[in-house]
Structure formats: C-alpha cells, structure tokens
C-alpha cells in the first residue's frame, strides 16, 4: 500500500455517499437559494437523521451480511407504545418500561433471526410477516389495554436528560446516541473479527460457514440488534414527546433502505461501510428536511430522493467494479 491516493479514496464504499451529500448541498445552494449557515444551524434535519441513522446502522449491517429487515417499521411504534403503556398507563417505574422495550426488541429480533436461519425463505418475506403481525398486536394491544391509540407518558427528569432532551432547545439528545452508536458499529465492523465475519457472510455464506464462522448465531444477533435499535428509537420518541402513537414508523422502512444504499452498501451483501451508512442517513435527511429551507416546492423532494437513489446505485456499481478489478492487479 503506497499511502493515501485519490484512486484509493474513490474505491472506498463511502465515496459515493460523500459525493451525493456534497451534490445535494450544492444543488440546494445553487437552485434553492439556501444559505449554508441556515442549513447547518438548523436542527430539524439533524434530528431526522439521528432517528433514521440509529435504525439504519444495524439494518445496514444486515444488508452487508446479505439480509433485510423491514419489521423495523412496526418496531418503532412498538417500542414507544411499550414504554408508554408500562410506565405511562400502568405507572410502573421507567426502568421497567425500558426493560420492556428492550425485551420486545430482542423477542421480535429472535423470531426474525430464527425464522431466517431455519427456513430458506428470503428475509424480506419473513420480516414482512412480523411487520404486519407486530403492527396488529401493537394497535390491538393499545386499544384493548388502554382504550386509546395514543398513550401519554411522563418520564422522570433523568430519563428525559438521557433519552429525550432537547439540547439548546432544538437538538434532540438522540443525536449523541447516534454518534456514539456510529463509533461502536464502526469499530465492530471495521476493527473486530465480527466485522470481517459479517462481510464474509454477505460475500459468500457457504464459504463463510466452511471457514468456521458461526453464521447462524451471527445472523440472529444482527436481527436482534436491528429490531432493538428500532424499538430504542421509538422509546426515545415517546420520552421526548411525552406520548406514544401507534401509527408512524412505516416511512422508516423505505427511508432506511434508501439511506443505506445511498451510503454505498450493496443489497446483495458483502460490501459497505459504517461511515457510508452514516453519511447516507445524513444525505437522506438533508434531501427530505432541508428542502423546507429552500425555495423549491417541497413536493419534489421525493423525486430528488428517487433520482439520488438511482444515481447512487449506478455509481456504486461502477465504483465496485473499479474496486474489484483493481485488486487483482495489485496482487500481481
């Protein structure tokens, strides 16, 4: 390796993400007349990115390992309803509510993981089943137990400070969680052997298993991580807004997939980086929330997201081919 070079940087999975992030900002500044100061001083899109990003990290890892989890769309309201019902409606200590959130995340993750390991069914279908089932359970559970589709929750001060505060009156504290989790996930994926295992599993599962990687256990752990992360986001939302809603969360399904793909992860597995996923969530948030600061009609934001996704996919394809074709030359 002869140090840092431009070619080297271009072949990294997050290069596409950096490019799209810059492109979107430039586009908004050039055509939307937004000033950079307003955009970077605004909290709305950073908050949005943090909520999205915490879910995108484990789902991105799942995608690197060749799987998909769409049940997160139901886990976010499930997490917020669990803590609101336990600690708000039944007035149990907040810690019990948090344990309940953790438990439901682990439980659904285990179901997803076990089904994915035991059957040959694509994880999209499995998690579609759990998505619908959890959604129904949450709705019915909240109506049967509390008689309403929205449950208030008054969290004690320490819980609010840790999970649901607004820093400077606008930045959600969940942003710090997002940054911390990004560091943790980045360390796991890029600096430990587990990260290698995940990438290996996505590249070629049979070879990975033959090489002694406990693929089944690893996969179950990844599914548990993703549904727990989603229920965590739901919990933070409930603590912040002092109430939990049964609806909401469905948007996260496509938003996470899009931000992960924009972040340079291949859906077919085996390729991706945590920095890319982080930037992907940031980019998605700028597109969908930053548009309010521009004089572009916000109705076009979905079009921009669609075009950006296509562009990212095409770019990633090209970059990946470059990366793959480059390596053999080096070895010679």
């Amino acid at each position: 390796m002869n140090g840092f070079s431009i070619g080297h940087f271009v072949r990294r999975p997050e290069f596409g993400a950096v490019l799209s992030f810059v492109a979107v900002i430039v586009f908004y500044v050039a055509f939307g007349g937004v000033s950079l100061g307003t955009l970077f001083g605004a909290a709305s899109w950073v908050n949005f990115a943090a909520n999205l990003g915490i879910v995108a990290l484990p789902v991105g890892l799942l995608m690197i390992s060749g799987e998909l989890d769409i049940s997160i769309g139901a886990m976010i309201p499930a997490g917020s309803m669990t803590i609101a019902i336990l600690s708000g409606y039944y007035e149990l200590p907040i810690v019990i509510g948090m344990l309940g959130v953790l438990a439901i995340g682990v439980l659904v993750g285990l179901v997803n993981g076990l089904l994915a390991v035991r059957t040959s069914v694509p994880s999209l279908i499995i998690t579609l089943g759990t998505l619908v089932a959890v959604q129904g359970l949450v709705l019915a559970g909240s109506v049967i137990l509390t008689g309403a589709a929205s449950v208030p929750l008054n969290a004690p001060a320490w819980a609010k400070t840790v999970f649901g505060d607004l820093i400077h009156g606008k930045f959600q504290v969940i942003i710090l969680w997002w940054l911390a989790l990004t560091v943790v996930f980045g360390f796991v994926l890029h600096a430990t052997r587990y990260g290698n295992w995940i990438v290996a599993m996505g590249g070629d599962e049979v070879s990975a298993r033959n090489a002694g990687i406990p693929t089944d256990r690893l996969r179950i752990v990844l599914f548990v991580l993703s549904s727990t992360a989603a229920s965590f986001v739901g919990m933070c939302g409930a603590i912040l807004f002092n109430s939990a809603q049964v609806s909401g969360g469905m948007n996260y399904i496509f938003n996470t997939v899009v931000s992960i793909v924009v972040g340079g992860v291949l859906l077919t597995g085996g390729f991706g980086s945590v920095a890319g996923i982080f930037l992907g969530a940031l980019t998605f948030a700028v597109v969908s929330q930053g548009i309010y600061f521009t004089n572009i009609d916000r109705n076009w934001s979905n079009l921009i997201i669609g075009v950006m996704l296509m562009a990212a996919v095409l770019m990633n394809n090209t970059f990946r081919q470059m990366a793959l074709s480059f390596v053999p030359k080096k070895n010679k």
């Binding site: 998909l68 089904l115 059957t119 040959s120 069914v121 694509p122 999209l124 279908i125 499995i126 579609l128 089943g129 759990t130 998505l131 619908v132 089932a133 959890v134 959604q135 129904g136 359970l137 709705l139 019915a140 109506v143 049967i144 469905m250 496509f254 997939v257 899009v258 793909v261 859906l267 077919t268 009609d297 109705n299 076009w300 934001s301 979905n302 079009l303 921009i304 997201i305 669609g306 075009v307 996704l309 296509m310 996919v313 095409l314 394809n317």
Partner: protein, 348 residues
C-alpha cells in the same frame, strides 16, 4: 391440467397416472393456499354469521380482493421470474391523477385521459425493466427508486397543475358503467375485470410458451438465456405488465370514487406481495401458479374485511395475516422440498 408444467413436470410426465392422487394434489403450488382459504372462510363464516355470508358480506371482501388481485397477478408473475416491483404503490395514484387531471381538470375526452393513465403505467414499467436489465442491481432497490421518483413527480405536478393534492372527476355514464360501476349497488365492476385478468394471466403462465419462459427465468436466469429465451425482453414485458395493471387499478379507482388523491396506493405494495406469498409463490422464483395467487388474494381479502363482521378487534386482523403469511411461507418451503424430492426419486 396444463398448470402442471412447472415444478411437477417430471412427475407428471413420467407418472402415467390418469387421475390426480392426493399426494400429487398436495404437491401443487396452490394446495397450501386452498387449505388456507377454506380455513379462513370457515372461521369467519362461523364467527361472522349471516351478515358475512350475505351478498353485502361477499361484496365487501370481493371489492377489496379485486383491486389487490389485479395488481397481485403481475407481481406474482414477476416474483415467479425472480424479480420484485414496489413501484406499483406510486403508479396507482399516478395513473388515477393523470386521468383526473386530463379529463377532469382540463376536460379532455375520457378516452384520452384513460389512455394516458395506462400509458404512465407502461412507461414506468418499461423504465423499471430497462434499469433492472442494464444495471444488475436488485430489482427491490431499482423499484424503490422509481417509486420515490414517481411519487415525487405525481405530487409535484398535481400541486403545480391543480393546486391541490386531490383532483375530482365526473365520468360519463358509459365509461363509469364499464370501469367504475357498482353492480347490484355493491359489487364493483372491477371484480369482473379481475376475473378477466386472472383468465388472461392463467393462459399466459400455464398454457402459452411464455409461461415456461417465466418459470425458467426464475429458476435459473443464465441457463434460461443460454436456452435461447429472450430474458431481457421478457423482464421488460413483465415490468410493463405490472405497471399496466397497477395503472388499470388506478384508473378504475378514480372512476369509482370520482376523485384522485396523491396519497393512496402505498398499502398495495406490501398487500400485493402478501397475497402472492400466501398464494404459494416463492420469492426466490421458479415456482407458483395463477390459481394460487387468486386464492391468496381471496384469503387476504377475507381476513382483511371479514374481521369487521366478527366481534374481534379489527386490528387483530393484521396479526392473523402476519401469522398466515409466515405459515404459508413455511408450508411452501415444505411442499416445495416434497415436490423436489419426489421428482428426484422418480428420475432414478
């Protein structure tokens, strides 16, 4: 009987059984979905009682089934061919708004609006198929991209042209009778269109040679291409078919409800996939049947609507659907293994 030319081809060809045995029936792709349909129908007939079995009861779930069913058929074919299409969720409102804007807002003849609406579907389908062929990116991602893009275009243009997110349309009686009427005051005419679509798709998948191509494409794409099947053209055609069907649902929706909304159609994305999977189609491709897809759609619609006739909390309906989906998936897994191992034994 022609439906046998898929997974069961070896056993059917070499068997020489004149009659279908029970074992043979249970290995057909739609066996599980028929069982599910009977079980679900019996369950709701028992709990829902007379109201569920009355004409109004039938109408309530047949109307739902017809709309999803028309979309589920081409989605099923795509899934048999090993691909996915999520963009239908955006094509449905896009086509109904196209009709409403052209014929309602601008007052052009309805035939122009309807053709344009269907054209939108064909165009999006072509675009999807072309991109899937060219980029080799999983079709899930490609169609999520086109879904967002079409959604944005629909929203942007509707607000730009009509100034609101809903556009109304008063169709002429003739057009309404063909596409958007209620027969007997409750059965949507869409139900008959669904039957027509189902027959057409049955012929396509199980009688015409194209059907075999679709199975081959889903079973092994490279071999299919080597065997001379025009896989690229076939993929584009399948995507155009699903775009067209989604647009058809959009058109009939605007004629039934006399207005088009920008939001709407989202629920079709996952619902149609669930219908198809409950109907015994494998997402990995290469197995499935049109009869199964129809059964799956009926099952889904009965659970979705039948729950309102019972005393059960309607929200628990989606728990039943989720459980059914997982059950169907696991049963299909089993049945498919049985079918595969049976065929292999015969070969010896």
């Amino acid at each position: 009987m022609n439906a046998r030319n898929d997974v069961l081809a070896p056993s059917a060809a070499s068997g020489g059984h004149a009659k279908a045995t029970i074992g043979q029936l249970s290995r057909r792709p739609e066996a599980g979905s028929l069982l599910g349909l009977i079980a679900v129908f019996a369950f709701f007939a028992l709990l829902g009682g007379k109201v569920f079995l009355s004409a109004a009861g039938y109408a309530s779930w047949l109307n739902v089934a017809a709309e999803i069913g028309i979309v589920a058929l081409p989605i099923g074919l795509l899934m048999i061919a090993g691909e996915m299409d999520l963009s239908i969720g955006a094509v449905i409102p896009a086509s109904s708004l196209t009709v409403a804007i052209i014929s309602g807002h601008y007052g052009l003849p309805e035939i122009v609006g309807i053709s344009a609406g269907l054209g939108v579907g064909l165009l999006v389908g072509f675009f999807n198929g072309y991109l899937v062929n060219r980029t080799r990116v999983p079709s899930l991602i490609v169609t999520i991209g086109s879904m967002f893009a079409v959604m944005g275009l629909t929203l942007g243009f509707t607000v730009l042209i009509a100034g609101s997110t809903g556009v109304s349309l008063v169709p002429s009686p003739a057009v309404k009778a063909i596409l958007g009427d209620f027969i007997g005051g409750m059965f949507q005419v869409t139900i008959f269109w669904w039957i027509l679509f189902a027959v057409a798709f049955f012929c396509l998948l199980h009688i015409s040679p194209v059907g075999n191509w679709i199975f081959a494409l889903g079973g092994d794409k490279v071999s299919a291409r080597n065997a001379g099947i025009p896989t690229d053209k076939l993929t584009i055609a399948l995507y155009m078919l699903s775009g067209f069907s989604a647009a058809f649902v959009g058109v009939s929706q605007v004629l039934v409800y006399q207005s088009a909304q920008v939001l709407g159609g989202q629920s079709f994305i996952f619902n149609s996939i669930m219908c198809v999977v409950i109907g015994g189609v494998l997402l990995t491709g290469g197995a499935g049947s049109v009869v199964g897809i129809v059964f799956g759609t009926l099952t889904f619609a009965i659970v979705n609507q039948g729950i309102y006739f019972t005393g059960i909390d309607p929200n628990l309906g989606s728990v039943i659907i989720g459980a059914l989906l997982l059950l169907a998936v696991m049963m299909n897994d089993k049945f498919r293994l049985m079918a595969m191992s049976y065929a292999a034994k015969k070969k010896k």
